[in-house]
Amino acid sequence: MRYLEEFRDADLVQKVLSRIHNTVKNPWVIMEVCGGQTHSIMQNGIDQLLPDNIELVHGPGCPVCVTPLELIDKALAIASLPGVIFCSFGDMLRVPGSSTDLLKLRSQGAQVKIVYSPLDAVRIAQQNPDKQVVFFAIGFETTAPVNASSVLYANKLGLQNFSLLVSQVTVPAAMHAILGSTDNRVQGFLAAGHVCTIMGYHQYHAISKRYGVPIVVTGFEPLDLLQGILMAVVQLENGSSQVENAYSRLVNEAGNIPAQKMLNDVFEPCDRNWRGIGMIPASGLCLRKKFARFNAEEHFELADITTKESEICIAGHILKGIKKPTQCPAFGSLCTPQHPLGATMVSSEGTCAAYFRYASVKQE
């Protein structure tokens, strides 16, 4: 068992698909929260295989996309400083700030490094004691424990030259914001499997009860996604709104307790601005006071930042599932992955990038 190709088996996919076709009677709108799921759906053509009356809308679970412009401008300001090595996941480098992006800064001589893990950034700090090493700590709950572990690791090593620029956000707060919105269309959710691997799914019972929506914890392979969709559709057709788990090989109700402990040791809840969506109360994580010396925002004195968003980009509507990329006048013309107007066109999880890359989408 390698836990990959077993969950891509074409015959089993066909069985689950036919069950979905036999089950669905009414039109339903289901949101997959996670951008990784959006890409898997588009890449595998799952949206094309579903009955016409199941509409998948794509959620805000793309940390690169929701990192606020102000923080990207701060990242650009820090990366421009002499003596700084700025480390980031690769996705962030092309995301447009108000006037430039990290990739352009690097071409102009700034020390911007792509790392696979924040722990690699800690090693870079160890090897460069005369430089300040900053890691752009973006992410949802999946990434929070590894970002936390980088702080704990740097702390154990006694490093004085390592800090995080934190943009951590949390999924349940975003689901509340979407379901509580007056223009909400979402009737059922596929909850993000790897977020739930860390956090469990106990916190979703209250959401499902309050808004009357089924929530199914779902994985990323074709069979996982179809199982999640099937379980959501069965509930919708039955008028049920429960939390179910379609990713039991990895997720349990309580989640990963040691990972949660690391997360809670280092971070505490705080309000966060989401790019394209706005401020959501208690929707993020910030460094606790005892780790303030690892906070890049406190470490560097930055001039006031005035942000400027594209006037054409509709990323906010896309992140809330209100519009599809094909409804944007700039999609594929003024806005492409090479020349993005908004972050949803950049990230490997962004909805616009998924539509652009796997072009055979249903026309609206």
């Binding site: 089993l12 996670c34 999946t142 572990s149 990323f220 379980m231 090989r249």
Partner: protein
């Protein structure tokens, strides 16, 4: 971003200040932080995100899910709906 890949634990090391190990991703070996899976054993499969093991994969749960998919035809033929797919229940 939340992309995570399964791999097999081939080495566990307690030399560093944090629990680290080596994971075999189908021939590619990488160093990974194992702090969140302290119970992990050599040969276990973990799911790895950004150099960090999120959890240990359960072979039993995986086999049960696959078996439930295989049995879908029989369920279909019996024309009775049940929730066998939800292997968590």
């Amino acid at each position: 971003m939340c992309l995570a890949v399964p791999g097999k634990v081939v080495e566990i090391s307690e030399k560093e200040p944090i629990l680290m190990g080596k994971i075999d991703f189908d021939g590619v070996i990488r160093e990974v932080c194992l702090e969140a899976v302290p119970e992990v054993k050599l040969g276990d499969y973990v799911i790895v995100h950004a150099g960090f093991a999120l959890n240990v994969l359960s072979e039993q749960e995986a086999q049960e899910s696959l078996q439930a998919f295989r049995e879908l035809d029989e369920i279909e033929n019996n024309l009775t709906y049940n929730t066998d797919l939800d292997s968590d229940s």
